[in-house]
């Protein structure tokens, strides 16, 4: 029952899967504590903004969400957390429209900060416990899929990347905690879990590495499927490829190539070359011809020549990525790439970015075409006027008609055609009974 003194909370999340998961875990915390979850237009008592700082664009978006939220929710307690809170802590702390700035490694204790605030205690966010894995298994969520965090931080020190500065060094969650979290998340009703972290391929708890952990997760009893969020192409053994024959593990990897030029990859301090990437893709596709690879590409990295960029386009064609997150290189202060020579003009970055986008759309259409006439098990995530949508095993978006549908159902669907353009493209299908 909602009582008069029941407090309300609104969330805004920017950026990666990990951030989304951490918000979902906070939603669970606040909802268990009796807070009402509302939109930030509905005068909440608390607004929590989980920011991102990976590119300049993310900074701009985060800033605009902060000022919008503070404006709309005038009397609310405004909490800013996430990577921007680490990167621009002092600046944000000096802003009057923000009540608390909470760094990533204290994010999991925001509920206790807010509870203390409402009971009149004066607690500074820096007094909150340090723990990047304290999050509860997700119960109440903003999403149909739930992530499980297995790892945080990264110490690869890629020259373009701000993450080691804002997420800290690599740390792995103990195996027992991960498995317990998977069990609870499945018990809480989720049919699909996404294994998440900053650099999950580097998972290491004692002798247990990522592949072994994944094998253990797949053996957790229950009717659920598993996805892997983005992964660094660090070289995978045959055992990793074999794991994908497990019916719970979905045939899709977001494998971050970043560039198709070995020279650029070295300047980025990436740990692989294109031939090694090719080896991985070939290994997978030899066993699972339909396997879906998506990727991240940075265009206009300092010193990227026309020839190097062409190599990226060639790689995109060759590896047939069905989706590409294209990033125009943007300087992150304090990174090594900031000090590299030959930074490129914005115009060139934009031109290159458009070329990658065009190719990405072309690849997507080709990839989708190969599914026409095939069936996919689709997890229903959205329902709108008799049409439902969700993702198939290969992480392809599918729409179909179904009456009496509910979110979180998995339905077998025969794919009949492609609808829409560009990023809005999806497959249409019919229910198979």
């Amino acid at each position: 029952m909602i009582t008069n003194d029941k407090k309300s909370v609104a969330f805004k999340t920017l950026g990666c899967r990990l951030n989304q998961y951490e918000t979902d875990a906070l939603v669970t915390d606040f909802s268990n504590a009796g807070y009402e979850l509302v939109d930030y237009n509905a005068s909440p008592d608390v607004v929590i903004i989980n920011t991102c700082t990976v590119t300049n664009q993310s900074d701009t978006k985060s800033r605009s969400v902060i000022s919008q939220s503070a404006r709309k929710a005038k009397n609310a307690v405004v909490v800013v957390t996430g990577c921007m809170a680490n990167n621009f802590k002092e600046k944000l702390e000096s802003q009057e429209n923000i009540t608390f700035v909470v760094e990533n490694n204290r994010k999991s204790s925001i509920l206790s900060l807010i509870d203390a605030h409402f009971s009149g205690e004066i607690v500074h966010p820096d007094q909150l416990p340090l723990d990047v894995f304290r999050y509860q298994p997700v119960h109440k969520s903003l999403h149909t899929r739930s992530a499980v965090k297995i790892q945080d931080g990264c110490d690869n020190f890629c020259t373009f990347c701000i993450i080691p500065m804002v997420r800290g060094m690599a740390a792995s969650r103990p195996v027992a905690d991960v498995l317990e979290s998977v069990r609870k998340t499945v018990e809480n009703g989720f049919r699909e879990i996404v294994i998440t972290g900053v650099n999950i391929g580097r998972y290491e708890d004692g002798t247990v590495r990522f592949e072994e952990l994944l094998a253990m997760i797949l053996e957790v009893p229950g009717d659920f499927r598993v996805r892997i969020s983005s992964l660094e192409p660090d070289g995978f053994g045959d055992d990793f490829v074999k794991l994908f024959s497990h019916p719970k593990l979905m045939p899709h990897l977001h494998l971050c190539l970043q560039s198709g030029s070995d020279k650029t990859l070295l300047r980025m301090r990436r740990m692989y070359d294109v031939a090694q990437f090719r080896k991985t893709v070939t290994k997978f596709r030899a066993v699972y011809p339909h396997f879906n690879f998506t990727t991240d590409i940075i265009v206009g990295f300092p010193g990227e020549t026309d020839e190097e960029f062409q190599q990226t386009l060639d790689a995109i064609k060759e590896f047939n990525f069905s989706h590409i997150h294209t990033f125009k290189y943007s300087v992150r202060k304090g990174t090594r790439a900031e000090r590299l020579e030959n930074h490129l003009p914005e115009k060139i970055k934009t031109e290159r970015s458009l070329k990658v986008r065009d190719l990405s759309v072309e690849n997507k259409r080709h990839y989708f075409e190969t599914f026409i006439g095939q069936t996919q098990d689709v997890l229903i995530e959205k329902i709108s006027q008799g049409t439902v949508s969700g993702y198939g095993e290969h992480y392809i978006p599918v729409h179909f008609k179904l009456s009496g549908a509910q979110k979180n159902m998995i339905k077998k669907v025969k794919l009949t055609g492609i609808v829409g353009q560009d990023d809005e493209m999806y497959l249409m299908g019919e229910l198979v009974d």
């Binding site: 490694n105 020190f157 500065m165 804002v166 800290g168 070995d262 070295l266 031939a275 304090g334 590299l340």
Partner: protein, 226 residues
Amino acid sequence: MMSLMKPDMQMDVSFYKVEEIRHLTDETFSLKLPKARFAFKAGQHISLGIVGGNQSREYSIYSGENDENLELLIKEVDNGYFTPRLRKLKAGSMVEVHGPFGKFGMEPELAASGKFVFIASGTGIAPFRSIVHTYPDIDYRIIHGVRYSKEAYDREEYAGDRYTLCTSRDKGGDYNGRLTGYLKTCKFAPETQFDLCGNSNMIFDALEILKGKGFDRDQIHCEVYF
């Protein structure tokens, strides 16, 4: 930046007093600090700051895992921000060290049984000295590319037949010309493990040569400085 990277580090643990500065050439020097207060793998790097400053840079550890001092090899870069400031340090100055970081490090089992070729440009020799100090019996060769023969940092520490100096701007090297020119002439056993360290252009060219000689990319490990 330092404080962002390790906001919760006990300050005193990461502070080191410079014990000695060894001048190796007009531009290159080694910073000798007290023994490392952390365990590291030979080949790894640390992040170095000057106490009171707001910037940090990465440096490979120049000393061995068990050496009495933590030592770094640093070249002052023209128009660089940090190295001219490092250059001004004196014995007694305070620096801040975080780490160790990185996957570029020697595994003890491999050191005992492997055959290694270390390829370095300039101060890129630093991780290899750490490895040789830590594993004096390791089966290795160093190919060191520099401009002038005076840049053969601490050359006397390596057995003569294991160290080849390539000089591109004077005739004082064992090979006069670029390291990559020398590499083309070399023959290596098929099971050799290659470790490359230094600037990305040298590493790119050396990789191409080694791949051209039929070595698998998985046998080659790289540490890029810039």
